[in-house]
Symmetry: C2
Subunit: 329 residues, 2 copies
Amino acid sequence: MKKMNKANNTLKEIAEILVASKSVLLFPHTHMDGDALGSSAALCAALRKLGKQAYILIEDEIAAFLKFLDKDFCTSDLEIISQPDVCLCMDCGDVSRFQKREEKFLSGKQKGCLDHHTTTVPFADFNYIDSTAAATGEIVYDLLQELPVELDKEIGSALFAAITTDTGNFQYSNTTGKTHQIAADLWDRGVDYNEVSVELYQNNRLEKLLLQTRILQGLHVFAGGQAAICGFTEEMLRETGGLRDEAEGVVEIMRNIAGVELAIFVKEVSSQECKVSMRSKKYVDVAAIGQKLGGGGHVRAAGCTVKEGYEKTIQVMMGLAEEQLKGQI
Amino acid sequence: MKKMNKANNTLKEIAEILVASKSVLLFPHTHMDGDALGSSAALCAALRKLGKQAYILIEDEIAAFLKFLDKDFCTSDLEIISQPDVCLCMDCGDVSRFQKREEKFLSGKQKGCLDHHTTTVPFADFNYIDSTAAATGEIVYDLLQELPVELDKEIGSALFAAITTDTGNFQYSNTTGKTHQIAADLWDRGVDYNEVSVELYQNNRLEKLLLQTRILQGLHVFAGGQAAICGFTEEMLRETGGLRDEAEGVVEIMRNIAGVELAIFVKEVSSQECKVSMRSKKYVDVAAIGQKLGGGGHVRAAGCTVKEGYEKTIQVMMGLAEEQLKGQI
């Protein structure tokens, strides 16, 4: 059932390269999610247990809910290892996803890539790209079976974080029986699911909840119940103390309303500019709407920038939504 | 590691009783959650495949997000089976949790109980109470191993719904390695996790979102940020069109606030009665608070009834919360 790319190396070959190395730098993509950082943290811990000099090289902030994963693994010091034996691209398949670190990545004596994204094609000296893996964490789990290191609670907890976040807690369509088999094995290795989950999901800032509640007070359902729109103004951010990133998830909440096909989320940037995120449930091509305004994205998740104030942007987007739902674009 | 109650029967014994029976009535608790209905639906489907006359006898409405589980299993007709061979108490351990059906339950030639709640003590003719099980769905899964019936996609999907809802999608502390082993096995039996998940979580009524937003506008954080409380009045239900069951999840949203250890949710039943749900994050024993008021449940999830109006109940619970947090109960 595995859709392996022909140019993939085996995990055994990759394990041998890592065992033979002295220093390894790991490169997760920018805007690290749980899988990018969790899979990197697990592998970094394992490599250190093997006596390697290993770091996760990053270029942006670690999101608050993921900070527990960084046990002195992460650094933004490009010279932490001057001439790394191995540079590994983690959970992404393109150096454009870490532009500030691209040169450093290319300086590795050997460059590798571990990823599960469907769009990734092998580009490094060695690669393991498996789009049937629910998370890069699953690939690291398999790789660890080939390494002479014990998969202990610390490593396992990072893998659980990677897997549970990237599968929407075992609910997304990428989740398979293997995902659960790995989770069961991690339990036997001492992982406390709830302990990881509390770190990931139970440390939401109160201000985030206040912001999301304030945003949803402005929810507007239109087009006969097929579309929903809401957003935040800068005033709402001030009023609630919430941060811009803390509105994440609201667009999915709208999409999850029964009957809603198209969800539109508007973020005021200034009195003359708003950013817009869109999601669709089954059939509307939101990338087409985004392209109308110079944006883009995927068929079910896209965005654009509107050079208007908040209220006007709401009107513009409602108009475009009505048009799209009528099949007029 | 299993904390079996001494008076438990074996699942083999229970399977033999069911195989020897001709008719079985299942009694989930009122205000059915995913586990009560999911575990009952799975067992009902299995019993019918064994040629039994089997129904789930209910006395209240099925929540919208759970309706897909009822494949003509549920009835509120007390005379659907006039003299049932077996009556089974599902996911609860006390006939007081189905008062309108108590007499019918007691009319069963043999009465049994399958439950995983810590406060349940064996009271029926035969019992299987395992507080280490994450869900009654896990117990039904084990019971099915003893029954001469194939655990197919239909049965497995109901079990997945039971397990995923009762474990907060595999995040609560009741989740164990076994929970994931079961989920992995259900995959092999054809269960599509995402299909079940879309039914459970992506068909939310708009009125539910309006109700939850209205409820969260009344959020109150107290005890130095360690506790949070909110709830709904009957007026909020009328105003938003939301149903009582659609407030589910708000107590977890409160618990997930950073620093909040104890979350309390108050549901107005009448001007003289409220139902209260509680969740704790790490150390507060909410069952102990519940028991103070004649309720009960688990250490991290419990409930009780307060014979007061909404505002007074909020006050009572805030007082108990402050006491418990000071270690005074």
